[in-house]
């Protein structure tokens, strides 16, 4: 779908709100290392995989933030940043910009502020967030189900049908798991929960997916209580 850069679709969003979100991006400690200006040479676009398949341009991202165009920023924040592949091919920039890095910060601000576009982009992704935050590993063997990966081929069925035995038929003892990618110590998981708690990540989850937040909250508070920590995610 062509990207509408006129900003008409966000005309009712106050300019102050667009500026506020832009300021949040700019105050991130990484921002100054990700943006130095833009020659408009297009090397980033030539290297970008997403630009070949979407109406997406890392150059537009760099130009928009370099010009401090809050209206365009808001449009790209909602309608463009989730197309990025985050491969950092655009780090080839001769001006030493990292449009991919700027996009990471923009996405973070979109999530933190619970933008509807971010919620839509992450629809169906909640189970992955749950897995990584609750268990410490992201794509577990038991996620290989034919209904989740119908396009990967018949071996996905073979794997799910034989999952337990095939996992036990892998020599390293740490890989005999099915619900996590490897065996993770309880103490290690507890430490990870404390990190999420102390860095405000749970607040971000609450903004983007209230249901997921409540599930994670239950899991984490129970575990932390068992380990002797008096921690509330409220």
């Amino acid at each position: 779908m062509p990207l509408d850069l006129t900003g008409r679709q966000y005309a009712d969003v106050p300019y102050e709100e667009k500026e506020r979100l832009f300021e949040e991006v700019k105050k991130d400690l990484r921002y100054e290392e990700y943006l130095y200006g833009c020659y408009e040479c297009g090397i980033c676009v030539a290297a970008c995989p997403s630009a070949r398949f979407y109406d997406f341009s890392p150059r537009k991202i760099a130009q928009c933030v370099a010009r401090e165009d809050a209206d365009l920023f808001y449009t790209l924040l909602n309608d463009s940043v989730w197309d990025c592949s985050q491969c950092f091919s655009c780090d080839r920039c001769p001006r030493k910009n990292s449009p991919g890095g700027v996009i990471t910060l923009m996405r973070e601000v979109a999530v933190k502020n619970g933008l509807a576009s971010a919620q839509e982009a992450l629809e169906g992704y909640g189970r992955v967030v749950y897995k990584i935050m609750a268990t410490g590993t992201q794509v577990s063997p038991d996620m290989l189900q034919a209904n989740a990966f119908p396009d990967w081929g018949p071996h996905v069925n073979d794997i799910s049908d034989n999952l337990d035995e095939w996992r036990r038929a892998i020599p390293p003892e740490t890989l005999h798991t099915t619900e996590t990618s490897w065996k993770v110590d309880d103490k290690t998981i507890t430490e990870l929960y404390l990190i999420w708690h102390m860095t405000g990540v749970m607040d971000m989850i609450r903004e983007i997916d209230e249901g997921l937040f409540m599930i994670l909250q239950d899991v984490m508070e129970e575990k932390l209580e068992d380990e002797g920590y008096d921690v509330s995610f409220d």
Binding site: L29, P49, F88, I132, V184
Partner: protein, 397 residues
Amino acid sequence: MIPHSALFNRAKDREFKVDPKQAPTEDYHDILFQLEKEGEWEVQRVPEPYVEVDNKYGRKKKIPIERTWHHKSCGQCGHIPGYSTSVFWLNRQLGLDYHDPTDQTSCTAWNYYASATSNAAAQAAVAMRNFAAAAETGYFPIIHCATSFGHYKETRQQLIHSPELRRQVKKILEKLGKKLVIPEEIVHYSEWVHAVRDKIAARQTVDMSHVRATIHPACHYHKLIGEDAVYAPEVYGAQRSAIITSTLQALGMDVRDYSTWFDCCGFGFRHILVSRDFSRSFAVQRKIEVMKEEADPDILVTHDTGCVTTLDQSQFAAKAHDKNVGLPVMSDSQIAALAMGAHPYKVLQLHWHSTPNKDFLRKVGIDVEARWAEFEAAVAKIKSGEKSYLTWEDADA
């Protein structure tokens, strides 16, 4: 009139020279040790023996050979377990001391680059918790995933430049009862394979001199903080990262070039899980088909979780659209293990891969049916309760 040739050197007359002064960032070694002197953190030294290699701008990088702490990859261990198993198998065959920890979390960066449901402080704390756990064992971290590798390099950069972030992470680690300790080098496992490639080649039992290969370098290996990727004059004149190519050449393979070498695989982090039409299209149209048309390879070898996943799993659906696919995909650790005689199913675990690879195995002289029957017999023993697990001894029996 000034002759044209006096104004412009022809490309063939120009000589490419690696120049440390061209590096976009300062030498991290100096800053790591300076901050250690100032009491900001401890630096975990690379244990001896190590091999010194050059990174992109000719700076030296130490690659540890043993006493390595294996920072595993979610996607490798979860969905392509023969990848990491092969890394461990190589260590065991070479008689090298290593540690496979359970006090390790994912770097969580796949999720971060997919969903942004985290922030710089959380990501740095996760990294430094894992590094502290490694230091406590006395083993040196070696990173299996290119995204973890790239993300940890980014994190190192941020910690170096932000006293505020260091303070924040130090406070979190204190609460966890851990010290702030950073490794002298952030090392990707494929750099280790590169460093020991001659030892692997010396133990090679499977001839691969008639094999044509293409390679795909992982973006997060050589583009993300690209100055800390390994280059070598003998591989593309040090103008492309040496990793994988150097290993395959040491094994005698014919490594062939293709025009989209620099392109991403199409993984996309978010896309591979919830928007795979993009990943599939890119992997097939910009990588697999180009390789097949231009280089006619028997095998595609890569060195990252996402790249093996995308390039391998994307081919099944593309076949339905009559795309020119059917190129088996393996990691450099798997191909190195295979060359040293590892079992294709007990060690390489190729039944977790999608694109058919039996023709390739036959080409290098593997009796595919016999090896699969051996694996099935081992699984039958597990199913019957005769054995609980397949052990390392079983894998080599």
